[in-house]
Symmetry: C2
DNA sequence: GTCTATAATTCGATAGAC
DNA sequence: GTCTATCGAATTATAGAC
């Protein structure tokens, strides 16, 4: 059975299930998600979910992989581009992530939650250990901050300034009384602000 | 039955269950936690848990309340103290939170996850909407940043710089190849760094 | 208060008709 | 491919002995 998606294209049943699964899993995490919820969100029957994906775990693994992919896509073209200055890399990184996160605001909480739940799965899989430390970006950062500050501080700060607002989105909208539109507008402003702040952090004594 | 806690004091069975519940719930969240795990961690039988707390949900609500309390305790003496300058408030806030989070690193992920899962429960309960916006801290911040930057940006940044490292702890330790001891040491360094950075953000044009 | 045993429920997965 | 009906495992909660 086929039915139109929001963008007017056609979604097969398999795609409909995957879309629903991505939404529900990312919102609630693995344990709190019931396959029945996914089936309902997809507008199909529970049996059909197992017909296409065999098990809840297999469907989840698929979604997880796609979500991790989103995170990697957003930076892989930046980290090792030797033609970009450090400031340019930071600016591109921040802009890319904010755009991605505006479309997928639940992603960071979902991924960090799953890493905490199953650290062993990510310990070697990502193997980002070396990829990141050996990146052109990190080398530039080391050179620029040498003798003043541990470059890891800068990386943590850049990530926190960019990602944290999305993790704490609802909480922040609550305590500061701003709505979704204002929130997105603020995130656009941060595309300019964060690179400036990061630059200051690197140069400060 | 009574048995010694780590600090040498005596813990009643009820307290032992609460301690175990706090540990397991905070680590794994509501859905992924089995009451059996809590019972085992407490060294008691499953039936006893229900004898003391009636249901998993009631026990969870209790733990949740205590955890939220931890978050509020850490700031309530700072936000409205009219004898502190803005810089002093920031410094005390950052130091208090980092100390609290070093002891309870799972707390932010746990709380933000639950807020996302049940926004309605926190919408009015926290009611932090007004408490925060009307605080002496926020007024000082507005005055200090007037005309240059939206003070909400500063608040989000301060929170992100402080809290995000703990949320992403395992991930960061992975990609940067640092261990737990180095991580805690970095967080101590941030007690000095973050207030300096925040001050720069406020004053920058 | 604490335990063992079990009832009651929820949920993932499958059988089988169409 | 899709559905209804149901099984079986896991898990919360309770009954009842001590």
């Amino acid at each position: 059975m086929r039915r139109s998606k929001t963008n007017g294209t056609i979604a097969s049943t398999e795609e409909k299930i995957k879309l629903a699964a991505r939404k529900v899993f990312t919102e609630k995490g693995f344990a709190a998600t019931r396959t029945r919820d996914i089936a309902e969100a997809a507008g199909i029957n529970l049996a059909l979910l197992n017909y296409y994906f065999r098990s809840k775990q297999k469907l989840f693994d698929l979604i997880m992989m796609e979500n991790v992919q989103l995170f990697i896509e957003a930076i892989k073209n930046v980290l090792d581009n030797e033609r970009l200055t450090l400031n340019e890399k930071v600016a591109l990184f921040v802009e890319g992530y904010i755009e991605m996160l505006k479309k997928n605001p639940d992603l960071p909480l979902f991924i960090l939650q799953e890493i905490r739940r199953h650290p062993e799965k990510f310990a070697n899989q990502l193997a980002a250990k070396e990829i990141f430390l050996k990146s052109h970006f990190f080398k530039q950062l080391q050179a620029a901050s040498k003798g003043r500050i541990n470059p890891v501080h800068i990386v943590v700060s850049m990530l926190g300034l960019t990602i944290f607002p999305f993790i704490a989105g609802l909480f922040l909208q609550n305590i500061t009384n701003i709505n979704q539109v204002q929130f997105d507008k603020m995130m656009d402003e941060r595309k300019k602000l964060i690179p400036k702040w990061v630059d200051t952090m690197i140069k400060a004594g």
